[in-house]
Amino acid sequence: MTTAEFELIVRQQQGMVYSIAYNFFNNVAVAEEVAQDVFLQLYENRRSVESHSHVIAWLRRATTHRCIDVVRHRSFHNEVQLDELPETHDDQPETDPLLQERLRRLVASLPETPRTVLILRYGEDMDAEEISRTLEMPVRTVWSHLQRGIALLKEKASRYLKEESRESIR
């Protein structure tokens, strides 16, 4: 891969790499740092890159691994504080930015592997087989992480709703 080809890949794939990291941390600064590190890792390994599809698979794998590394080595905790979540309004439009922000925060508070699986499934629109190849785990494990992630999200969301209704009664 030449430097010009690398530049083209950065410009074409920056959205994908940054989005995975952003959805993982729900934090612009950390997402930008992780995305930059992933591209530099690609630059250092550019001689081993075989094809365009190989680059995309490589970037997805490197980004998810880097995100998990950052969480594990830097003790990056993203536990959601219920009172930090934005307030809801009755007159909600079709696409509710507040709801989206809440969902992102809830996703970012999940354990690393179910979080990664959910981001690849819903953010990158990947099927279970693609996710299993990216994360190097069996398809059945991908499904179980997906189910576990959704169950945890529902639990967190219902806890939040209970808190909210208790507040409104007072």
Binding site: S19, E32, A35, L103, G123, D125
Partner: protein, 109 residues
Amino acid sequence: MNPFDKDFREALQRREPPPGFAEKVLSRARQLDSRPKRFFTWRWAAAAAAAVLVLTVGSLEYREHLRRIEGERAKEQVMLALRLTGSELRGVQERLARVQQRVIEVPEK
């Protein structure tokens, strides 16, 4: 698509990084290229250690080889000396035998 899927996809949809992201990456990549290559690495250190080991073992083997050759030469010289001494002894014995013979042959007066 159920409402959960829809909300999720919208919440986790792709977004562009902050402006100037690509330029920052490319600038850091150029810095990587201009960084002086480290001469000392663990691979070099291991190769140097292996070379020193090979040279030491080789020189010890060579010294042993020279010592063995010298030993062989000394042994040959000793053998030659012994052979020479043996033949001289035989000469002396022969001469003695002849003298003895002569003594026997001389008649008594």
